[in-house]
């Protein structure tokens, strides 16, 4: 029996033909409301839940185009035995490059330079205001695909970061790892803290007032994980009281970041609009995950690439 796949991303002709050759009936996103008998969803949108829960459909698998899956109706998915595969890894290399860029933006004093440039000010900083990546104590929360890619790039700068994960298990590229419960000693003299954790019940508002209060002038805080991991009010407080000196934020509690958010105007904050994983080659990678999973799905009903544990949430 032919399986029907509803795709939210627009596929080009080559991609559509490739799916047809795998025996798949491709339904474009524009037909989401009228289509029936959908077996597979590729991607997601505000109509995703309606397609998933439509009794005329019988969705058994969702291939997301994101690494995080916290926006999916996970309770419903668990109750109905829907399988989920995510796009973990598709963005990791690009996110890691963005992260190195965020660090150098502040360490090499570009943040002052762009402001001075706007006013035509040739304002030479003191030598002591600039530092190198090689000499920072860096702590990365999350040692999965993103964290490992960041560590790998840091290693090329002669920098060996510390990692924080659930169990404290060791990971390649890190000079040491601790569990989330045991991070206090590690971060109290950290120069750089990077969040690359998924959003799960454990990580929501992990970076809160109590967390930031234990920091002693962290030079740069980076969030390329999930916006909900950070209590933004607490972060703004930490920036004012210099527990954190600078921050680069790609994700936010509410996206788009509301125009009235005070974060926009913090002179020591760099805001990018959830773009850190973007790359001209993204679509190719995402379609590759779908194709690979389809192959095993058609063969024996199993999914092999980036299978999500829907109970854990990642």
């Amino acid at each position: 029996m032919t399986e029907r796949l509803l795709t939210f991303p627009t596929l080009n002709q080559t991609q559509t033909d490739a799916l047809k050759a795998q025996g798949i009936d491709v339904v474009p996103a524009t037909d989401w409301e009228t289509a029936t008998d959908i077996d597979i969803i590729f991607g997601w949108s505000q109509h995703g839940a309606a397609v998933l829960q439509n009794p005329q459909n019988h969705v058994r698998w969702i291939q997301t185009v994101s690494a995080g899956v916290d926006y999916l109706p996970l309770d419903w998915i668990r109750a109905h035995d829907v399988q989920v595969t995510n796009a973990s890894g598709a963005y990791s290399a690009a996110i890691a490059e963005s992260t190195i860029g965020y660090l150098l933006y502040f360490l090499r004093d570009f943040n002052d330079a762009v402001k001075n440039q706007a006013g035509h000010f040739w304002q030479v900083p003191a030598r002591t205001e600039l530092a190198t990546l090689a000499n920072q104590k860096i702590v990365i929360y999350g040692t999965g695909s993103i964290g490992q890619h960041i560590a790998e790039l840091l290693n090329g700068f002669g920098s060996y970061p510390f990692g924080v994960n659930r169990s404290g298990h060791g990971v390649n590229g890190f000079q040491g790892t601790v569990s989330m419960e045991d991070d206090a000693d590690l971060v109290k003299d950290a120069d750089v803290v990077i969040n690359a954790m998924p959003a799960t019940p454990t990580t929501i508002h992990y970076f809160n007032e109590t967390y930031f209060n234990q920091l002693n002038g962290v030079r740069i805080f980076v969030n390329v994980g999930r916006g909900k991991s950070v209590d933004e009010a607490a972060l703004m407080h930490a920036l004012l009281y210099q527990n954190v000196l600078n921050a680069a934020l790609d994700v936010f509690e509410n996206e788009p970041l509301p125009r009235e958010s005070k974060l926009w105007d913090y002179p020591n904050v760099l805001i990018t609009p959830h773009q850190s994983g973007f790359d001209v080659d993204n679509i190719r990678a995402l379609f590759g995950y779908l194709s690979d999973n389809l192959q095993s799905w058609e063969t024996d009903g199993k999914l092999t690439v980036n299978v999500v544990d829907v109970n854990r949430g990642y």
Copy 2:
């Protein structure tokens, strides 16, 4: 006989004591006008030439605190057999980190983000506007200490640059090198061009109108070499006509860059005020060169570290 060293950088007590222990009489910069019998100059200033050419002195060695020495009165130096050692290498690691930062600033679309942030605009770029370092064709002019440090960091991103030097000799970390005469084929489809050459008669205005006209939309042009290597009028023309799409400039034909320069207002140019080599550890490295050279100078009158060929100019 005790040698007298005039130092333009202010030394701390530990450094002064260390020089005295090596049998050196240290003369601070403030005494430049009245001091006599100076043998060695450390650093330089607008009074450097007066000290050097004062007949009451007999300077035989200048240890600079810069990599380039083009600002020294080289004709006089050649005529009077003064030896010159430079600070080549002291800044290379920091300049290389700055250079990676410049590239990521544009590749990861921070340049648009900082402008949008000022207006509170959540403006998500197209995925196709962002790219990764790993996928760029990068050409580095100058394969000395700075160029090699840049190449080494790029290698950590899975990027293997091409090099351009005088003879075209091969250098570690580069996937290939050509001579300056043979660069046309290499640059016509380059994504990134980086200048890390010293200022010599050969390199002055090397990057001129003819040079830029052969480029086909180079994504990023970086100058961390010398300002005089670039004809700024020609660069501005290339930016307008999109032979070059973005530029990061740390050095300029005239420094400070005049307030009335049009470069300040180019939206696709990042200007930093000759700071790319700055690092909190600079002074320690510079003093190390002086100390090491003093040791051999006192032993057998020879200089061993960073000896400049004053005929070549570097």
